[in-house]
């Protein structure tokens, strides 16, 4: 098992270097001159030249790549022209909001997707199954940002049940930072009002973000459950008189969980991509909103930072999924 983990970690490092090479290529092969962009529109040619030297932009590409990688390892992700902060500082400020949103969305997707998938498989062609089928085909086809806007239109603007956007209302003070997650911090401080307000703000964006993941978790889990329920050991368990809920929830679900786990890992990554859209819709101050605002301002150091951070996150989640696979399935351990 420890060899398995070591191998995975080595692979992770190699992937990171590859990702760095991609972001480097994107930002250095781009037609715009980063030096004149950084210097601003009124800069004299001398100032541009000075900046070029300062950032090492006049050196050969390979040397620049080396400088870049060394910088990233030391935590230097560059500088945002738009916010005038170090990119790393900005990312640390904005990431907790994104993490909170994605986590809540994933919880919704799993907590609804799994039971729906199981029910649909147990009662094939029943009404839950029909509902599940409709959700699973439309859930991945609805443009996520449009779903978010429709939720805003109906639930927030027309019915007035939930707030339109942001993380907290104007009247609520954010809880003092411990984890940066408002839901957690407000509970740790015992601030019930802030918790309720934060929860009310996160519901709509999390729902919009969770739908595609919910749809595919449900779909995969349903298919795997149907397959598992047709196996001999289930027939055997039934024949032995084991309670029906137990055959389904323990015997079958355990075996259906592995592929479901894989899709959860994959969907987590897509969700990180989706936050870019959802955060723009709901003015959610996370790294997604940071990335889009930087993209519009053509300020690309921050975007490279966000790309790296999301890539690292996705890789870590895949690593965790792989490790869980190894723990749950001896065959996967042997294969690795």
């Amino acid at each position: 098992m420890s060899l398995f983990i070591l191998k995975r970690l080595a692979l992770l490092l190699a992937m990171l270097v590859g990702l760095l090479a991609i972001t480097f290529t994107v930002s250095h092969v781009a037609p715009g001159d980063p030096a004149s962009l950084a210097a601003g529109p009124d800069a004299s040619p001398q100032m541009v030249q000075q900046i070029r030297q300062e950032f090492g932009l006049d050196r050969p590409l390979v040397e620049q790549l080396w400088i870049y990688v060394r910088g990233v390892v030391q935590g230097n992700l560059g500088h945002s022209v738009r916010t005038n902060h170090q990119v790393l500082d900005d990312l640390l400020t904005f990431f907790p909001a994104t993490f909170e949103l994605v986590t809540v969305a994933m919880l919704i997707a799993i907590l609804l997707g799994l039971p729906l998938g199981v029910l649909a498989a147990v009662r094939q062609n029943g009404w839950v199954d029909h509902l599940a089928r409709i959700v699973s085909v439309s859930g991945v086809a609805i443009p996520m940002f449009w779903l978010g806007i429709m939720l805003q239109l109906i639930v927030a603007l027309t019915l007035g049940w939930l707030p339109l956007g942001g993380r907290l209302g104007l009247m609520t003070d954010p809880p003092a930072t411990i984890t940066g997650l408002y839901l957690v911090d407000s509970l740790l401080h015992g601030d019930g009002g802030a918790f309720v307000d934060a929860a009310r703000h996160i519901i709509l964006p999390a729902m919009a973000l969770s739908l595609p993941a919910l749809a595919s978790i449900m779909r995969v889990n349903r298919a795997e459950m149907i397959e598992a329920l047709g196996q001999d050991y289930i027939v055997n368990a039934r024949a032995q008189g084991i309670a029906p809920w137990r055959t389904v929830a323990v015997y079958a679900l355990k075996n259906a969980m592995l592929p479901t786990l894989a899709i959860i890992g994959l969907r987590y990554g897509w969700m990180l991509g989706g936050t870019v859209l959802i955060e723009s819709v709901f003015d959610w101050p996370g790294i997604g909103l940071y990335a889009t605002q930087s993209a519009i301002a053509q300020d690309f150091q921050p975007i490279m930072g966000v790309t790296l951070l999301i890539g690292i996150n996705f890789m870590l989640v895949n690593l965790i999924v792989d490790l869980a696979y190894g723990l749950l399935d001896p065959r996967a351990r042997a294969a690795a």
Binding site: P143, F145, I149, Q152, L153, L157, G269, Q298, I303
Partner: protein, 307 residues
């Protein structure tokens, strides 16, 4: 076969032709028969058919063609849906129905180009990596892995940000991040096919690599490519609309669905039709292509049926 000096009589010709093409035609009929039985697949085909027709007829169908290219009628701005303006009008008085219909051609074209470029890059790389193996395979697959380790949308935004916003750059960016999926799919398919006995037989009888690839490997890769391409048409439409929505893709007054929603959301909740109809158009096209993809997969891979 008839000797060349004698005129080929029609019956013999038919028979020869049927012997040559019959199995393929029969296979197609079986495919069609299986496909037709699925209601959702037929629904998808219907939706895609309608949108293709709309894309082809495009400007000829619409009541106010000049509204698609940025005409301004301030007197009729933000009118609600009516007989004259089925989907209402936008903030400069353009007919939203016109813009959604004309936008269909644009969206389908973008998706076709992205999917096409991705296939053209990904499939040869996948076959090459799978068939040849060696260090080149390692290199191709590791690069593919790295690309797949970041959500495509995020990488596309990064590339557009570097290239500068615009519809062409958005298309380039999405094409650049779309191919790795094909490499992974085709590489594993090629690895399986390589070990099939008919490939071994072809190799033993002296067939060149090119012949094996083009007459044995590639034809057998067609069905997974078709399934993935159909799904990807939908996903590429979503991707392009997302970039348009963020503001780095198509720019106003181009009638692009995502860009329309991006402007329209400033006019909520009173002028709700502005965001609603372009969104419905995206939803329906993506749904159509996904259902067709599902249907095709059920036809080509019967084991997956009902999944």
């Amino acid at each position: 076969m008839a000797a060349p000096d004698r005129p080929l009589d029609a019956a013999a010709f038919d028979e020869a032709w049927w012997q040559r093409h019959g199995p393929k035609i029969r296979q197609m009929r079986i495919y069609w028969h299986t496909y037709r039985r699925s209601a959702s697949a037929m629904l998808g085909l219907g939706i895609v058919g309608i949108f293709l027709a709309v894309a082809a007829a495009g400007p000829a169908l619409v009541p106010y063609p000049e509204d698609a290219i940025g005409a301004v009628h301030m007197a009729q701005k933000l009118l609600s849906p009516s007989a004259a303006h089925w989907f209402g009008t936008d903030e400069v008085g353009d007919d939203i129905f016109t813009r959604v219909v004309v936008g269909t051609r644009l969206s389908l074209l973008i998706a076709l180009i992205i999917t096409g470029v991705a296939t053209l890059i990904g499939v040869p790389l996948g076959i090459f990596a799978g068939y040849r193996g060696g260090w080149l395979r390692e290199l191709i697959m590791r690069v593919t892995d790295v690309f797949l380790s970041v959500p495509a949308l995020v990488l596309a935004i990064a590339i557009v940000a570097a290239l500068g916003p615009g519809i062409v750059n958005a298309m380039i960016a999405l094409s650049l991040v779309w191919w790795p999926g094909y490499v992974r799919l085709i590489e594993s398919k090629t690895l399986t096919l390589k070990n099939e006995s008919y490939v071994a037989a072809a190799r033993l009888s002296g067939a060149s690599t090119a012949r094996i690839v083009f007459s044995h490997i590639l034809p057998n890769c067609l069905s997974p490519i078709l399934v993935k391409a159909s799904m990807d048409m939908g996903m590429a439409i979503l991707g392009a609309a997302s970039l348009g929505f963020i503001g780095v893709g198509a720019q106003a007054p181009t009638p692009e669905w995502g860009a329309m929603i991006s402007i329209g959301r400033n006019y909520l909740p009173i002028w709700w039709w502005y965001v609603t109809f372009p969104g419905l158009a995206i939803f329906l096209t993506v749904l159509g292509f996904n259902l067709v993809g599902d249907g095709l997969r059920d036809v080509f891979d019967p084991r997956s049926r009902g999944r």
